[in-house]
C-alpha cells in the first residue's frame, strides 16, 4: 500500500464502536482504495496520552485519525453541546443527521477548523441506572450519580442529585462499593460495564432523551490534504452524512440487546410516559437559558442553534 493511516481511540478493540463502526469504516476505506490505504488501528490509547488529548493528537498528527468524545475537552467545541442539552435528541439517526448538517454549516470552519472531520454522531438515548426506583425528579434527591457530560451534570444538579465525576471504567466498582448510587449512560454501554448486575432500576423516557454525548471521527488536516485526489475521494465517499447516520444508528442499535439482557435478569425497567417525562423536562428547562447565556458570552447565538437543532431533529425523526 502507499498510505498508512493511524487510527487512535480509547476503547478496547472488541467494544461496540471500534468493532461495529470504526472497523467497518476502516475496512471499507481499505477495500475501496484497492489496498492502497492501510488503516492501522491503535485501541486503548496505545499511542499514549489520555482520552482528552485525542483531539489534539489528530490536530498535531500524533495520530492520523482519532475517534473521541467531544465533551472530553469542555469549552473547546461549545456548539456541539446543543445536541447534549437535556431532552434535545429523539433518536440517534435523526440527531446524528442534524448534527452533521449543523456541523457543516456552523462548526466546520470555526470550532473544528484545525481538523478534518469525517463523521459526527451521537449515541442512543441516555438514561438513568440507579439502585432505587426513579420516577419523579424528586426521587433523585440526594443520590450520587455519575453524569456523562457537563450538561448531564447540570441536569443532575437541577433534580437535586449530586453529580460525581469518575471515568467510565471506574463506574462498576463505584456502583458495587456504593461510592455512587447510579449512573447515566446509554443501554449499549451497560453490558460491558455489567450495570444490570450492579443496579436493579433503569429509568427510560418517552420522546426526547434525557441526554446524549456527541462524538467525532477526526482526521489530521495536512494528512488529508496530502492524499492524492483519488484517495481523498475514497475517504470522502466513506465519510460525512451517510457515515454519521450509520455510526449513530449502529451504536443505538446495540441498545436493544443490552436492554433485553437487563429485562431478562428481571430488572425493573421504568419507562416514563409523556406526561411523566414532561415533569422532568420542566425541571431541566432553566438549563436552556443558562446555556444560551453561556454561549452568548462566547459570541455564539445559542438560541438559534437550539431552534435549528430542534427543527432538524423533528424533521428527521420519523
Amino acid at each position: 500500500q502507499e498510505v498508512t493511516l493511524r487510527l487512535h481511540q480509547f476503547l478496547p478493540p472488541q467494544a461496540n464502536v471500534p468493532k461495529l463502526v470504526l472497523d467497518v469504516w476502516a475496512d471499507s476505506v481499505e477495500e475501496d482504495s484497492g489496498g492502497r490505504i492501510k488503516v492501522e488501528r491503535y485501541p486503548s490509547m496505545q499511542l499514549g496520552g489520555k482520552p482528552p488529548e485525542l483531539m489534539d493528537q489528530a490536530i498535531d498528527g500524533v495520530a492520523d485519525i482519532v475517534w473521541t468524545v467531544v465533551g472530553y475537552t469542555p469549552g473547546r467545541y461549545p456548539s456541539t453541546e446543543v445536541f447534549e442539552l437535556p431532552f434535545m435528541m429523539t433518536n440517534a439517526r435523526a440527531a446524528s443527521r442534524a448534527y452533521w448538517e449543523m456541523f457543516e454549516k456552523h462548526m466546520k470552519d470555526t470550532e473544528f477548523k484545525d481538523v478534518h472531520i469525517l463523521g459526527t454522531w451521537v449515541h442512543g438515548p441516555g438514561l438513568i441506572h440507579a439502585n432505587k426506583e426513579v420516577r419523579k425528579p424528586s426521587d433523585m434527591e440526594g443520590l450520587k450519580i455519575r453524569g456523562g457530560s457537563r450538561l448531564a451534570n447540570a441536569l443532575l444538579e437541577k433534580v437535586g442529585a449530586t453529580p460525581v465525576g469518575m471515568p467510565v471504567p471506574a463506574v462498576p466498582e463505584g456502583l458495587s462499593k456504593g461510592v455512587i448510587d447510579g449512573t447515566t449512560i446509554p443501554w449499549e454501554v451497560t453490558a460491558a460495564l455489567k450495570i444490570p448486575e450492579l443496579v436493579g432500576n433503569h429509568t427510560e423516557f418517552t420522546g426526547n432523551a434525557l441526554y446524549v454525548l456527541t462524538f467525532v471521527l477526526a482526521m489530521n488536516k495536512d494528512r488529508y490534504d496530502s492524499l492524492p485526489a483519488d484517495l481523498q475521494k475514497v475517504i470522502d465517499d466513506n465519510s460525512g452524512l451517510e457515515f454519521s447516520i450509520f455510526a449513530g444508528g449502529t451504536q443505538a442499535d446495540s441498545d436493544g440487546p443490552a436492554r433485553q439482557a437487563a429485562a431478562d435478569r428481571g430488572n425493573n425497567i421504568v419507562t416514563l410516559n409523556a406526561e411523566e417525562t414532561a415533569e422532568w423536562k420542566a425541571v431541566a428547562e432553566p438549563i436552556y437559558a443558562e446555556w444560551v447565556a453561556e454561549m452568548n458570552e462566547k459570541g455564539i447565538d445559542g438560541q438559534a442553534l437550539i431552534d435549528e437543532a430542534r427543527m432538524l431533529i423533528d424533521k428527521y425523526t420519523e
Partner: protein, 439 residues
C-alpha cells in the same frame, strides 16, 4: 526501514545507553524521541507536539498519585518510631532462638512492609533499627546485611506496593485485587526467609549469637506497642479492598494516618518534616522520570508494532505456555542482576503481558493477569538483592561500611535461593496466589 525494524533496533540501543550510565528514564525518553522521529519520516513536528501534553498528562495521573503518597507514608512511618516498636516486638518473641534476632528483623520488615510501599525505604529504615542489634548479639557482618537486604524486599512483596500499582496501571488490572493476591506470597516470603536463616545458622553456627528468652508478659507488652501499624495497615489495605475508598484515597489516608502518629509521637518537628518531604521528593522525581521515559518509549513501541508482533510470533511457534512463562521469569532474574525493578517492569510488561494474555493457562484472563503480576513482582524484587547490582545491597552496605560487599554477596545467595524456590512453588500452584481472589 520499517517501523517494526526500528522498534527492534531500539532495544540494543537502549541497553547500550543504560549500560553506559545514562539515567534510565533519559535513555528511554531518547529512544522514544528517536523512534517517533524516524517513524514519522524524519519529521520532528509530531514528536514536538506530542511533548506539549505528554509530561503534564503523565504527572497529573490520579492512579499514579498513589506513589508520592505511599512514599510520604513510608517517610512518616520511619519517623514515628514504628520500625523500632515492630523490631522490639518481633525480637521479644524470637530473639532467644538460634538466629532469632535475624528472624525478628525479617518479621519486623514484614510488619513495616505492610505500611510502606517501597523496598528501599523498608531496607533502609529497618537497618537503622536492626543492624546495631544484630551486631550486638554477635551476628556476622555479611549475614546481617544480607538478612536486612532480603527483608527489605518484603516492603514491596507485602502490600501496599508501588510496583504493583505500576503493574496494575500498565495492564489495566484492579489494584485492590493485586494487593490482596500479594498477601499470601508475601507471608510465604517472610516465612521462607526465616527458614533460610535457621538453615544458615545451622550451617554456620558461628555467624549468630543468642540471648536469654524474655518473659511472656514483656512479649505481649512489646506486641501491644505495635498497634498503630496494625490499625493503619488494616485501614489502608482493608479499606481499599472493602471498597471504602479507591487505592489513591487509601494512600492518602495512610499518609495522613502515619503523619498523625508521627506527630503524636513527638518526633515530627519542622526540620524532620522538611526532610521527609525532601526524601519523598527525590524518590518521586526519580520514579516519575522513569515513568515518563517508559510511557514515551512504550508509545513508540506500540507504534512500531513490536508487542503485537512478539505475541503473534510466540503464538504461531506453538510453544507451551509454561515454557514461555519460565523463559520470561528467567529473563527477569537475569536482567534483575543489572537493572532496577521499576524500569524493568515499565519496559517489559507492555511486551510480555500481551504474550502471556494470549496463552491458555486454563484460568480466566483476570486470574492469569493477577498471577503473572505477582510472579513478575517477585522476580523483579529478587533483582534488588542479586549481585552485582542490587539496590538493597547497596543501601545496607552504605550503612555498614565495615562489612565488605563480597561478604554480603555470599550470604545473600541463600535468600535468593529461597526466593527462587518460592517462585517455583507459585508457578506450579497458581491457586496459592489466587486463593483470596473471588471468581
Amino acid at each position: 526501514m520499517s517501523n517494526l525494524e526500528l522498534g527492534f533496533m531500539s532495544f540494543p540501543i537502549l541497553l547500550i545507553m543504560v549500560f553506559l550510565r545514562a539515567p534510565i528514564g533519559l535513555a528511554m525518553l531518547l529512544c522514544g524521541f528517536a523512534g517517533w522521529y524516524f517513524a514519522m519520516g524524519g519529521n520532528p513536528n509530531v514528536l514536538l507536539n506530542k511533548l506539549k501534553s505528554e509530561t503534564y498528562t503523565q504527572f497529573s495521573s490520579y492512579s499514579l498519585s498513589i506513589i508520592p503518597m505511599f512514599l510520604l507514608m513510608g517517610q512518616f512511618a520511619t519517623l514515628s518510631g514504628m520500625s523500632s516498636s515492630l523490631f522490639k516486638a518481633a525480637e521479644s518473641f524470637l530473639g532467644h532462638r538460634r538466629g532469632g534476632v535475624a528472624m525478628a528483623a525479617v518479621g519486623a520488615c514484614a510488619g513495616f512492609g505492610a505500611i510502606c510501599g517501597s523496598s528501599l525505604a523498608t531496607a533502609a529504615t529497618m537497618s537503622k533499627v536492626a543492624l546495631p542489634e544484630l551486631r550486638r548479639y554477635g551476628y556476622s557482618g555479611g549475614f546481617s546485611t544480607a538478612t536486612l537486604a532480603a527483608g527489605g524486599t518484603l516492603g514491596i512483596l507485602i502490600p501496599p506496593s508501588v510496583i504493583l500499582v505500576i503493574y496494575a496501571i500498565l495492564t489495566e488490572q484492579n489494584i485492590a485485587k493485586l494487593f490482596l493476591a500479594a498477601f499470601i506470597p508475601g507471608i510465604m516470603a517472610a516465612i521462607g526467609y526465616m527458614l533460610t536463616i535457621s538453615f544458615y545458622v545451622r550451617l554456620n553456627p558461628k555467624s549468630a549469637g543468642t540471648r536469654p528468652p524474655q518473659p511472656m508478659s514483656e512479649r505481649w507488652a512489646a506486641l501491644a506497642e505495635t498497634w498503630p501499624v496494625l490499625v493503619i495497615f488494616g485501614l489502608v489495605v482493608g479499606g481499599i479492598y472493602l471498597g471504602w475508598f479507591t487505592p489513591t484515597e487509601g494512600s492518602a489516608i495512610g499518609a495522613a494516618g502515619t503523619g498523625l502518629v508521627a506527630l503524636l509521637s513527638g518526633s515530627l518537628n519542622w526540620s524532620v518534616f522538611r526532610d521527609s518531604l525532601l526524601g519523598t521528593a527525590k524518590t518521586t522525581a526519580m520514579i516519575f522520570f522513569i515513568v515518563l521515559g517508559a510511557s514515551f518509549y512504550n508509545s513508540f513501541l506500540a507504534l512500531s508494532g513490536v508487542p503485537q508482533f512478539m505475541a503473534d510470533w510466540v503464538l504461531t511457534q506453538g510453544f507451551s505456555p509454561w515454557l514461555v512463562l519460565s523463559i520470561i521469569l528467567i529473563f527477569y532474574l537475569v536482567f534483575g542482576c543489572l537493572m532496577d525493578s521499576l524500569s524493568m517492569i515499565l519496559l517489559t510488561v507492555p511486551i510480555f503481558f500481551p504474550v502471556i494474555s494470549a496463552m491458555d493457562f486454563g484460568m480466566s484472563p483476570e486470574h492469569v493477569a493477577i498471577w503473572f503480576g505477582i510472579l513478575v513482582l517477585i522476580v523483579v524484587e529478587v533483582g534488588l538483592i542479586t549481585p552485582p547490582v542490587g539496590m538493597n545491597l547497596f543501601i545496607i552496605n552504605a550503612m555498614d561500611r565495615e562489612t565488605p560487599m563480597t561478604e554480603t554477596y555470599k550470604a545473600v545467595m541463600f535468600f535468593v535461593g529461597s526466593d527462587i524456590l518460592r517462585v517455583i512453588i507459585l508457578v506450579l500452584f497458581p491457586a496459592i496466589t489466587l486463593f483470596l481472589i473471588p471468581g
